[in-house]
Amino acid sequence: MRACGRIERQLLDVVRGAASDAVRLEVEEHLEECASCREVRASLGLLGALRAQPAPRLGASAERRIVERLVATGGPRARAALAPRRPGRVMLVGLAVAALGALVFVAAPRGWRRAPAPVAEGLTLEATQAGVIAFEGAGVTYGSGTALTFHAATRTIAMTHGQVDVDVTEHRARHFRVTTPRFVVEVLGTHFVVTPTGVRTLRGRVRVLDLEGREIAVVAAGESWTTAESAVAPPSPVASPARAPSPIAQTIAPTMAPSVSPPPLVTRPSVSRAVVAHPGVDVAALVAEARAALAAGDAARARTFIDRAVAAGPAPSERPVVDLLGADALLVERRPAEAVAAYRGVLRRHPDAPEAETASFAVGQLLFESGAQLEAAAALDDYAARYPHGRFVREARDLLAQIRPAE
């Protein structure tokens, strides 16, 4: 047994390739006789096989992003800005108190708890700050300055100003509706964002009606629809949704069902099919603004300009760069899976545009950085085949060499 203990320790060095010949010989002799140590050897051999894999590395763009963030936050101050905060003792005590409170709430007799009051018919909300409210089976996130009137009987929200992000979680006989002074949005699916000038569907489908109830458009997931005037009028800035409800929302706070998670007000990749083109809007200027915002790391601001450029109906020659910027924005927002899909969309829609080259390499690089080596190799091979003298060929070959070191 003593021999087994020593052999097991020596096995680790054998796996690391650090054992002397004498040790290796002793170990192998022992293994021939000892089934138990052979089993240990087998399990450690798996770690040895894992060790033979190339060490994980970030791609060049990920490293560049890190350097930029470290530099932007000022070196020694980077820790406060970039390192995740850890719960201090005070916070842990606070969490414990909150947990206790929740326990008391759950364990309390039913009579102690007040049932959530429904939103009163005709309730008008003029929000001074962003917030979330549950209404008729939907989570409604509204921005600062939004004016809404709730009609529970018709399951309708009338909006005159601002922006709402609606996530319908319950399907009922009556369709959920959001009305604006110009059009009506009827929900066929689940998640969408409405402004007075347009609607963007994030999940499912919505139907856009005119005020007489005639269908204007059906907007599917990833698409957006705008009215003619939308691109002319500058979009009003929308504040990010605060977790704390507004003073108005607080009066109806019990209706905020805990099961309805606050839907984000962030935008998603929108393959817009703007119904009306808007001559006069300088798409090139919007693209330049979006690019500058992305360079500054402000994806939300970039998204605003990209959306305006899309709504303006860019010329066919401008379309690839707008789509590429949309994908770049997703990357800056650190949504790599969606960015990969968006870059692939650029490739699919504009295979002959110069932007396709960037998109093609970006797909390979992102897949590599995510650890999807097989798919990354396919994408990078594809890039190298399409653009044998391309701008990123050297980097693509470097990545491929990391994926296939034996070649």
Partner: protein, 216 residues
């Protein structure tokens, strides 16, 4: 127990390198130099310990952010690489303790058109090897998730990063006895887990057979 040669030599800055003073002053070129010098080492340590994770970039960034924030307290008694490695181990440990490791990178990044694109674009033997390697790595790291972080880190640093027990003890601020004990229990737990997994058991048996034949 012999001390093995390091798997990869780490370029080293001297403790009085002007780059460090530049980092303390927040100079961009100095910060970039520090990062470029040690990025490979930090990425290797974190990647080996944590395994494939979408938080990889965050963890590397956090390591350097912590390092820059604490650079004023670096007295030059250890090599910068050792000091940074200690921070990387700490960051990885914190990540594992927080239970975020379950978020392994999956095939979620791959869209539907991938399936049709692959056969024509990737040599099949390379594809098979890559799949085997990824599959093995993914399964082993999933098993490692079930081993306590301190034990797991000690074993992986020893086997994968070629660190000595003395180094691991210093990096984890533990005694050598505790480190050896952690490695022992990690090995034992890993063996149990592999024994319970039919696919890994077969793979391990196959590897053992190949090793013995090769040795003969």
């Amino acid at each position: 127990m012999s001390t093995p040669a390091k798997a990869h030599a780490v370029p080293e800055l001297a403790a009085d390198d002007p780059c460090l003073a530049g980092c303390r002053a927040g100079r961009p070129e100095a910060i970039e130099k520090l990062f470029r010098t040690y990025a490979g080492m930090v990425e290797g340590v974190i990647g080996r310990i944590v395994g494939p994770t979408p938080d990889f970039e965050d963890l590397v960034q956090t390591t350097f952010a912590e390092a820059l924030g604490n650079l004023g307290r670096f007295r030059g008694e250890a090599k910068i690489s050792t000091w940074l490695c200690g921070i990387a181990v700490h960051v990885a440990h914190h990540h594992l303790r927080a239970g975020k490791v379950r978020r392994h990178v999956s095939l979620e990044l791959v869209t539907d058109d991938r399936a049709t694109a692959l056969p024509a674009l990737v040599d099949q033997s390379v594809a098979d090897k890559t799949i085997d390697g990824r599959r093995l790595a993914s399964k082993l790291h999933a098993l490692c998730d079930r081993i306590a972080p301190k034990k797991r880190i000690a074993l992986l640093l020893y086997v994968m990063e070629d660190r000595s027990v003395e180094e691991i003890a210093a990096l984890m601020r533990a005694t050598q006895t505790a480190t050896r004990s952690r490695m022992y229990f990690a090995r034992r737990e890993l063996r149990k887990l592999i024994r319970a997994d039919a696919e890994l058991r077969d793979l391990a048996d196959g590897l053992l057979g190949a090793t013995l034949e090769g040795d003969a």
